[in-house]
Amino acid sequence: MNSRYEIGFIITPEVNEEEVKKIIESITATIKKANGLIENLDEWGRKKMAFPIKKNLEGYYVFIQTEVDGAIITTLERRLKQMEKVLRFITLRLDDKLKKSNKLTKKWAKIDKIRKKTLESRSEERESEDFIEKEEESDADEK
């Protein structure tokens, strides 16, 4: 069963571009081997961190969104832990969240429709009321 995951990790700022490419390729290759899909590869590049990690003030941020088997994620986690050049990593499952968010968007769309309807009906009522008032005024003027 394939499901959507997000992997994010920070690489030490000392590495050069080639080594960064190597690390990213090693991860993407394992995903592709297991018939996985790489939906998005976000490279933020060097960024100042909020607090130092292992005496490093900066970090190279990479985020990958994929669709793979869950067993591959556990192996990737193990490998990321062993890498000395990776300072921190995070893996998330997105399926449940996306389901929930889709439900909410549908619900809100329904509420919006009902609101629009009530507003329209109200405005119509108001217009009719104004019309009656105007008629009464005109009657009073004639008298």
Binding site: I10, A50, G59, Y61, I90, L92, L98, S101, N102, W108
Partner: protein, 91 residues
């Protein structure tokens, strides 16, 4: 003696305004998924010392407050937001 306002125009003192009702910032923009990666947006919901504001202060609804607290904690794990920061004292 009648109460008089400080401006001295003889009118009674002004009444205190009732607090405006707060709305959930995420419901307003119709955001259903709070991402830990946009830390610049999450910064509005933590104090200068790094604490998460309670829902009664920020006005977020229960559904979004749950997601928000989780997103902030994940951002902290990835060093995008601060855990704590000492208050800067003016000496």
């Amino acid at each position: 003696m009648q109460m008089r306002s400080s401006s001295g125009d003889g009118k009674p003192p002004k009444k205190y305004y009732s607090a405006r009702k707060k709305y959930c910032a995420f419901c307003k923009d119709k955001i259903t998924l709070i991402d830990y990666k946009n830390h610049k947006n999450l910064e509005n919901f933590i104090s200068e010392t790094g604490r998460i504001f309670p829902a009664r202060v920020s006005g977020t609804c229960a559904y979004h407050q749950k997601q928000l607290s989780k997103a902030i904690k994940r951002a902290r794990q990835m060093a995008l937001l601060r855990f704590t920061e000492e208050k800067k004292r003016i000496t």
